[in-house]
Symmetry: C2
Subunit: 269 residues, 2 copies
């Protein structure tokens, strides 16, 4: 683990990342010595920092650190956190403050291969995401909603929980974005009031554009989920997982999801 | 500073307090070797931990640590943070996890005495608090809304910013609770959808009950703020500050606020 460029796994208790969740992060899948979609992740990191007024470290600095880590950990999950830094007491961000940037390395998760091929069992979480347009889409460190939602089930056969917002729209998974296939179109929720816009979501959206598949970004109701031709969740770590079962709803075939998954995985390798 | 009972100012980058803001805190005013309202603060800490399913350290443990700190720092601000602890990757809280508890010490702020006696200048923040009933009232570590709100002004003469919610109700200050005096009644916002319920708020509510002053906890509109007989903000650190000026609205006298302030300060000493 690297903290501000140095080997270590500790940060100050005065870091605003701890005090206020005043920071952002990315979770990278590292496979065969390559960090998948690093340029896209950096672009989102930079965007998210800008939304919060945090000074984002240069890509040259972070890329150099990442390259060093890839040699040592060629297959891993690498979490990159950037916080506003360490400062005096008080919510108002100090004018002169150096961001904290750190990498944390974990093993790749050993998800069953069947989850990608035959689909997952999912559930609906009770927790409803609140609306906060100023934070929507940003992968920031204020993640208590995700923690509370993920605490709702302990059945290991349930791979993901889907989250609705206070208005009853279905928004995302606890750690993934959501896509609906209906009548040959792809639909993914509008994330302008809540939710996190992941890199894999962008890749699916780009794929649809490149392959002339109609793609809509808008609110999605519970009924649309239940009546979908296919449903899948997406993240950099999990790739794409079709949903096989959620409450009383079952799906058996996932031709669109399989096509996109194979196409994106082909691009990865 | 104490981290899990030991001198130090560092925590693990894998602490869920940093990763997700998965923790709660209290900010204590320490004056003349006494931590004001410590039992009430502990009670709220315990309540907030329970709301998030975090194991709260026993009062005997924290009181012993606090007593040691009071000798060394008889006049200070002491921030007590309890996080869910250090765990493996993933939002779901691990079953077996030890909470992290730490104390951070800062000097008492040197607010002008006139702010308590003659009132403060305040502003309305643009940021609107989102509704999340599962987190409302809790002093948790997901405080980006407060950070963004406090970043909105840099006029040192403005002592506090008032926050409205997405529905247009006036909820609180960025670091204080809010009270309105109107027609001999006290009114403070309902915090069941957003906001932080502070110890000083409870003390004012209790004072009103003891002194047979009608006290209402309900939604407050912008118009009620503008037409209030008096307006004041409250926290353990600042005590009570009447609002002298907010946008075009001016107040000159604060008899109710002054009475409550003197009564509460008398109880402190």
């Amino acid at each position: 683990m690297l903290v501000n460029g140095k080997l270590g796994n500790l940060i100050s208790v005065r870091d605003r990342g701890l005090l206020y969740g005043d920071g952002v992060f990315r979770t990278l899948r590292v496979s065969g010595g390559r960090a998948l979609y690093w340029p896209q992740h950096y672009q989102k990191l930079r965007h998210d920092c800008a939304m919060l007024g945090i000074a984002c470290p240069d890509i040259s600095l972070l890329s150099a650190e990442l390259n060093g880590l890839l040699e040592q950990f060629p297959d891993a999950v690498m979490k990159l956190i950037v916080t506003r830094g360490e400062g005096a007491r008080g919510y108002a961000p100090p004018v002169h403050i150096q961001p904290t940037y750190l990498w944390d390395i974990s093993p790749l998760p050993d998800y069953p291969a069947a989850w990608a091929e035959k689909g997952i069992k999912a559930c609906f979480c009770q927790l409803r995401l609140g609306h906060q347009p100023r934070l929507a889409g940003i992968k920031h460190l204020n993640r208590l909603e995700n923690v509370l939602a993920a605490a709702e089930w302990d059945d290991k056969n349930i791979a993901e929980g889907l989250l609705m917002d206070v208005a009853g729209n279905v928004i995302e998974g606890t750690r993934s974005n959501l896509f609906v296939v209906a009548g040959g179109r792809l639909i993914t929720p509008d994330l302008s009031r809540c939710g996190v816009a992941g890199v894999q979501r962008d890749r699916v959206i780009s794929w649809a554009k490149q392959h002339n598949m109609p793609m809509h970004i808008r609110d999605i109701s519970l009924e649309e989920i239940q009546q979908a031709d296919e449903l899948f969740v997406a993240s950099s770590i999990i790739g794409l997982w079709p949903v096989r079962e959620i409450e009383q709803n079952l799906w058996i075939e996932f031709p669109v999801c399989s096509q996109i998954r194979q196409s994106l995985e082909g691009a990865d390798s």
